[in-house]
């Protein structure tokens, strides 16, 4: 566990509403970085050094300097307001980890899908899974490479997003940008009629 008791971040007594959200997306899109940036507590990472064999399975094309990958979970916590505290569960991006993904998704109220602007299509699979589960989601384009970002209209068209689904661009290393992305998701979850269907299920 590591951290000193004196360094603990305690939640105020008024905090009672826990909101579990998933941070999902394809391999190397920046999920760990996102959770790292936004968490108010020391984040939990389960990273392993990638093997050469793994590098063949996980397409590293165009992704430089990546030597580790999340094999189980990223976890972080962020108090968004006096009453809402966010528990973020980042899940492995690779297809072969989907069986664990199902378990971690349990009880999640929403998901933030990260997408790399150069590899948008790699986020389509996870969006299909979310839609099958009826889990509200938002899309955040990680623009960490600072390439030319298509317009929101073009991005919405690429993802075939319904108008009410939030779409934001953010740098996963930027604290306020990641917070804005999460807030857009939480607002969407709060407004989502699906949530009521789940409650009565």
């Amino acid at each position: 566990m590591g951290s000193e008791p004196s360094g603990e971040v305690y939640l105020p007594d008024s905090v009672r509403t826990a909101v579990k959200v998933l941070v999902v997306g394809p391999f190397a899109v920046g999920k760990s970085t996102f959770v790292n940036t936004l968490s108010e507590i020391e984040p939990l990472h389960t990273e392993e050094t990638m093997t050469r064999d793994g590098a063949v399975v996980d397409d590293l094309h165009g992704i430089t300097d990546k030597t580790t990958t999340t094999v189980a979970l990223d976890f972080g916590r962020r108090t968004l307001s006096d009453r809402v505290v966010l528990y973020m569960f980042g899940t492995p991006g690779q297809q072969r980890f989907l069986s664990m993904w199902e378990d971690l998704a349990h009880g999640a109220l929403g998901a933030l899908v990260l997408a790399d602007v150069a590899r948008l299509e790699e986020s389509f699979d996870v969006i299909s899974v979310l839609e099958e589960r009826g889990l509200p989601y938002g899309v955040a384009i990680n623009d960490f490479n600072s390439v030319d970002i298509p317009s929101h209209e073009e991005l919405r068209e690429a993802f075939d997003l319904l108008p009410e689904i939030p779409l934001v661009t953010c740098d996963a290393r930027d604290r306020s940008a990641t917070a804005r992305a999460m807030i857009s998701l939480v607002e969407h979850v709060l407004a989502s009629p699906l949530q009521h269907a789940q409650e009565s299920a």
Partner: protein, 137 residues
């Protein structure tokens, strides 16, 4: 809006029986990976992180069922370190208990005690309203 698992510090007394010699700390978590209660020696942030880690462990354990005979039911996961053990045990249908011990723990009696505690926890948690934990699997 539904919400996730609410902490229930009033259940902490149920973990008193877990605190045998050589036991470091224990946390009870719901299937969604959030803390229900924890022993007093683990800080709140660390309890959150331990619970998330245990939920992930339980997820990978459940994913391994297909490699262990016909339709196995997961009961517990044990990790051994050179510095001790971590037990993860089912506590009723929607909750788990994780216990961290040193290497010197007496495995036999400890395991017996832990299983007695999860049994009590399981029946206690089964009677509580579970906000936001509708079973969607």
């Amino acid at each position: 809006m539904s919400t996730n698992t609410v902490r229930r510090p009033e259940l902490r007394w149920m973990l008193d029986d877990v605190l045998l010699p050589e036991v470091r700390s224990a946390v009870v978590l719901a299937r969604d990976g959030l803390v229900i209660t924890a022993t007093g020696d683990i800080g709140e942030a660390d309890a959150d992180r331990f619970a998330a880690c245990l939920a992930s462990l339980r997820g990978s354990s459940a994913a391994a069922t297909e490699f262990c005979g016909a339709q196995p039911t997961w009961n517990q996961t044990l990790i051994e370190f050179d510095t001790g053990y971590i037990f993860l045990i089912a506590a009723g249908p929607h909750a788990y208990m994780g216990v961290s011990t040193t290497k010197k723990v007496d495995m036999g009696p400890a395991t017996q005690r832990f299983h007695a505690v999860v049994q009590k926890l399981g029946s206690e948690l089964g009677t509580l309203p579970r906000s936001g934990d509708s079973d969607r699997s």
